[in-house]
Symmetry: C2
């Protein structure tokens, strides 16, 4: 394999085509420190860029870096994507044979429903391994712009709970990058979109110009914890700043977010760590944000603030003029390039392939039997049973006849969701039913998203009449919830509710499977006594149809939990999407299970089983703990971050299956109580090994504080067990939050006002374009 690679390497140079890797063997760099594997990454990077002209440095700031031919530095594409498998605009699948497919896992929201960190690490390890194999064949890059770390972004994230999201991205980065002390990184992960990026296109508010007004309390309590986890606790290799502004400042031009918080407060200062802009968020600083008065100033502002890579061409295009105008000095540019090349060094980019196991990976590492089984396991763990009258699991015999309906019944590409590569196979629900020894009566329809007609309904009625059992698999898909769009309704779309109601009138056992990533109000299905069961199936990936049917027929038992609140359809009239506040307000019922004061259709964490469970907490804990004592113990451990100090021994919960069906069970633990500043959240998801940070609350300035008060640990949503304890003594600040510059908040930028801002920072000049 190594021989083959070397031959390819030489051939590429001789034909003038792009080489995969720099030439450290016989090129002009062979005696430069960049090629000295014993030197530190930063020293190696510094040595390389000392050879660069200013123009060559500027050229390196774009995501499609042209390299430096005279130095045998090949072009490099920084933009690679994976969300649930390798994908994206710069991943190149071949038309057939090797490298024509890879493993396609479920969307993050479904994997999030498994509440299984090890699963996420395993999945990330598989995808990163497949990415390395594709990279070795020059079919994708080494820097992946994943995970999506925003709590509201539909199918792309495990959704609304910041602790859950933090655990998820931590587990994912571990699998993706490998261990922090490994000699080489597997690939580089990128936490995105930093920060407050939750609007796509809603009521005139476009992501490219939206200004998210977020209080320091909400930022620290809700929007930033997963990013803190990435930077401070997971050693993630890269960050991506977002399209939107936060409190008036475009994030890619914001030294407060990129320097004060990310690098200084979270200690993300390793030279191999870099920030890329979203594509092309640097341009958006100029237009439509109108933050910088000129194009050159926008490019300079981004680089100075700490954006090291510009997805797009705006920096390479405008930095020459910015330098000519004296808007920045070369040290800032060098800093960005040192970060870039240090990161590439850690990926083995400049080192001999022979010593690097990742460089030996070929297509035999892709879509293995084990990875296919993992993809199946991920769906099974994630599917959620939301309603069940005891009819499921479905017993089948050879005389059974199943009526199969809904736009997802014969789904193929829909199974994958967005950011999909080419899957190994696509098993639709229809395909899965056809593998069973039963009669299938399938009819296409009703046409859930775009088709307003009833043209296909008659065939649905006749197929239903001929069936013993009705299975309806529908909901929404990427026709209505793709990146770049926000939906205008969270009710079931099109005429689906009418068709569901008519099918239910047949009086036959009926199962509904709700697909798609975004919220849908399923209360009409919950309230219909003729519908036996409701499952939630999201975007289940390549084996989704088989997994759904295996759950329905009891070959596997459901144990997933809803990672999001299912709001009633009227919710969209109660909270403008532009309102970033979590707590309820005068005309706002609040967001997430912690704060929403209405009645959810299904609460966060909902999930039934084919059996019942009881639980007990085995604990010899005290009734009261002294905050002073807790802090003394914490300090004696020399903890850098007091919020990570352990509260004590983990709670031990014993769960018993009291029914007759074998089943997995996810132990969800919540903390509730009236401690810290009012209002108090209803409850908060925590781990059983409580940290001081998980007991803390965030004050209005963003400080994380341990408060005296009464605490209650609850097991599961309808608590199967609980235990109470108190903290006594004076409150203690665990993490003092750096305050933003005085001119940022309360800057007169109104909520909910789309359109252009007038004036740039430190200037009354409106850009001329």
């Amino acid at each position: 394999m190594a021989t083959h690679r070397s031959a390819l390497f030489a051939a590429l140079f001789s034909t003038g085509a792009n080489a995969l890797f720099p030439d450290c063997v016989k090129g002009p760099l062979k005696n430069n420190t960049i090629c000295d594997a014993s030197a530190s990454p930063a020293d190696r990077a510094r040595a390389l860029i000392s050879l660069y002209t200013l123009e060559e440095k500027i050229n390196a700031t774009g995501s499609t870096a042209p390299g430096v031919p005279r130095l045998r530095i090949p072009p490099y594409e920084w933009w690679s994507e994976w969300l649930h498998g390798i994908a994206g605009p710069f991943t190149n699948f071949s038309d057939e044979g090797d490298y024509s497919y890879s493993t396609s896992f479920p969307q993050p929201i479904l994997m999030g429903a498994a509440f299984d960190d090890q699963l996420i690490t395993d999945v990330a390890t598989v995808i990163a391994t497949e990415a390395r194999a594709f990279n070795n064949a020059n079919r994708t890059g080494l820097d992946f712009w994943t995970p999506n770390t925003n709590p509201f972004r539909g199918q792309e994230t495990p959704r609304e709970d910041p602790y859950h999201l933090s655990s998820y991205v931590h587990a994912l980065i571990k699998g993706l990058q490998g261990g922090a002390t490994d000699p080489y990184k597997r690939v580089v992960a990128t936490c995105k979109h930093y920060a407050g990026y939750d609007i796509e296109s809603w009521n005139g508010n476009l992501r490219y110009q939206f200004d998210a007004q977020i209080s320091q309390q909400d930022l620290v309590e809700y929007y930033l914890p997963p990013f803190q986890k990435c930077a401070r606790d997971s050693n993630v290799g890269a960050f991506m700043c977002s399209y939107n502004s936060v409190n008036g400042v475009p994030t890619c031009a914001d030294p407060y977010l990129l320097q004060t918080i990310l690098r200084e407060h979270w200690g993300w200062t390793n030279e191999e760590q870099w920030v890329t802009s979203d594509c092309d968020a640097v341009q958006n600083i100029y237009l439509p944000h109108e933050w910088s008065a000129t194009r050159e100033q926008a490019a300079a502002d981004a680089l100075i603030a700490g954006t090291d890579v510009n997805c797009g061409t705006y920096m390479p295009n405008h930095l020459p003029a910015a330098f000519a105008q004296g808007l920045l000095n070369e040290t800032v540019l060098d800093q960005a390039l040192i970060r870039q090349y240090s990161s590439l060094v850690r990926l083995g980019y400049f080192d001999p392939p022979e010593n690097q196991p990742y460089r030996q990976l070929g297509f035999d590492a892709v879509a293995t039997n084990a990875s296919q089984q993992l993809a199946y396991k991920a769906v099974i763990e994630g599917i959620v049973l939301l309603k069940s009258d005891g009819f499921l699991p479905l017993s089948l015999s050879s005389s059974s006849s199943i009526g199969l309906f809904g736009d997802w019944a014969n789904a193929t590409d829909d199974l994958l969701g967005n950011y999909a590569g080419v899957p190994t196979y696509l098993h639709s629900p229809l395909w899965a039913v056809q593998q069973l020894n039963v009669t299938v009566n399938y009819a296409q329809g009703p046409g859930g998203q775009g088709d307003p007609t009833t043209n296909r309904w008659l065939s649905v009625w006749s197929a239903a009449s001929a069936s013993d059992v009705i299975i309806y698999i529908g909901g929404i898909n990427n026709d209505v919830e793709e990146e770049g769009m926000d939906r205008g309704t969270i009710a079931w779309t099109g005429a689906q509710l009418d068709v569901l109601g008519q099918l239910a009138q047949q009086g036959k056992p009926m199962v509904v499977v709700q697909m798609g990533g975004g919220h849908i109000d399923s209360s009409p299905i919950v309230n219909n006594p003729n519908i036996s069961a409701l499952l939630w199936g999201d975007y289940p990936g390549q084996d989704g149809g088989v997994a759904i049917m295996d759950i329905i027929i009891g070959k596997a038992a459901p144990a997933g939990r809803l990672p999001t609140t299912q709001y009633p359809a009227s919710y969209i009239n109660e909270v403008p999407m532009t309102d970033m506040a979590l707590r309820p307000g005068t005309n706002n019922p609040g967001r997430t299970y912690k704060w929403y004061n209405g009645t959810a259709v299904f609460e966060f964490g909902s999930g039934l089983h084919y059996t019942n469970f009881s639980a007990s907490i085995a604990s010899n804990m005290s009734a009261t703990y002294s905050i002073t004592d807790l802090m003394t113990t914490c300090r004696s451990s020399n903890a850098t971050y007091p919020d990570l100090c352990s509260f004590g021994a983990p709670f031990e919960v014993e769960v018993t299956n009291t029914g007759s069906t074998a089943s997995d069970y996810v132990t969800l633990a919540y903390l509730a109580g009236s401690f810290g500043p009012a209002p108090h959240p209803k409850k908060s998801l925590v781990a059983l090994n409580l940290t001081l940070g998980s007991l803390a609350r965030v004050d209005e300035r963003g400080n994380k504080v341990l408060y005296p008060g009464d605490y209650c640990l609850l097991i599961d949503n309808q608590p199967l067990a609980s235990v109470n304890f108190s903290l006594s003594g004076d409150q203690v600040v665990l993490d003092e939050w750096p305050q933003p510059p005085a001119n940022r908040t309360g800057d007169g930028v109104k909520d909910f006002e789309p359109g252009y801002f007038v004036g740039g920072h430190g200037s009354d000049q409106k850009p001329v374009y």
Copy 2:
């Protein structure tokens, strides 16, 4: 040809395939009155349906009518479409050769900019002729669901002025149906969507459930005049009721709109005239409108209200139960079928083909040289010159080099807009420039709608540097303004403004062409002194690229006028799309050129020329007219509708071209003045042959009233001439408006509240589904 058709006819029956036409020669109907060409259409229809069973009648209510095989009545598809050429889901183009293409004209909004009624009649005649040829080949139907008669519907209508829209649809129906006394109709036209249908999907308001709250004054003054023109003055064959409700009642279930107004007040009572629902608006009466408490009731309510054809299957599906429950009687059903079959009789459907010229048409009548030239003429007449510093028309020599940019520069399908069939050819702007003897520097980009990256920009800069003249052809397209969506911004999309600004900085002569049908605020282009000219090109159809370039190089002179107000981008923040009011309100600057109290980027009627014009009004009119005298003259003419009475002799306007460039000129006349109830519109478009109706205003109850007061007739937007006169005496009601049932308006349905209504009509029962 007739022989060939007969042979085909026999062959189809013998193979069991669908026949095109009923068998009046030797089938069971040959002695029925339906086959007696000397009987009246209604008698013929009555005779036919007297043979039908109830089930056969119910089957005939859906748009895909199955026919009655035992009577040799073949299936018939009521749903055919054309908007700017034959198109739609049930038009079948062959893959190659004959019937593989037809003539594709510009979108209605561009043809509307020509302000040329004869053009519209000519275009409609061509398309109807092509439709007949396709129908003779069993490739489309005879009933076309056009014209779109709503004032706000983007590219599909000539837009915002009700008089202009009325003239347009009148001219179109004339061409489409032929003369009212012709022995056969060419095809049947359908005025849609009746009424108040202006929301697609905006901020949670979906067209299927939106309730348009409209005052009687706005209805009569603005939303209904074009429909009145269709029904009362143009003998249109069909109407389509809409998805939305008006003042609480779904239009397809509304006896006030369908019976009181349409049939009784407008006298649309010819038995050959029928109403179809939008697809599947009958279902929407049940869900999501929740107007009718059951599905059966919804089907019955629609039929009873006067909906004769159900696009979809809801009536055929649910009318059997509705009859079983006694919700309606068979007379109502018979009435609908008499209308359907009377209409088919008027199309010659039951008559011998030998006597019908339309039945002789073959593919040689399609895409003729004359129709291609007409399609080109329609674009030339419609293109509007909005900004010009004198640089245009562009002089070319063989040494000229043109830089051509923008996502529309190489547009193909985009040229057509929505509801497009297969055009004869597609000539993009790039193709057109390549036919000139000049150097073309074309670069794709910037990626106006979806692509946020600057990846393609560098090639734009290098191509621009190499050029003498820069032409940018961009704007929006159906990626962001297709049916079913409303846009969230009316600014130029994506990064286009940044690219335009950078191109303008090159200091070269630069021309921008704004494409797409919806509003875009072009003020940044207007305000940029480095941009020489701005043209408006909409969706110009198959020859659009050639027409645009011919205008630019002066082979033709622009004379089109903007048929819509171009609002500033902030307008969308000032008026919710759900607010149907025309007049300004507390937080609302008003709609259309008549009422908008802000500063438009371009006013309705804007349009420059390559020359200048002066005008004078040759009039020997009085200074004052007595309303009593005017009415006496009107009554003496035995006018059925006093609003159609002439005011006197037409004004004669003499227009002089004072420049050196030959050019068409469109004489736009407006009426202004402070007559009738305040507030007063700024002005209103009128014809030069004024009618009493064109002088009238509408009061709050919807009555059309001739008021005493001071009137001013203005020629053109910046008036080239004007004349003043007064009306004296008492006001007179020209048209007394039938008031809606008392329980309709002020029924407690709030504005702007999306989501489901609770309760049906005459019932507190909420539907169970």
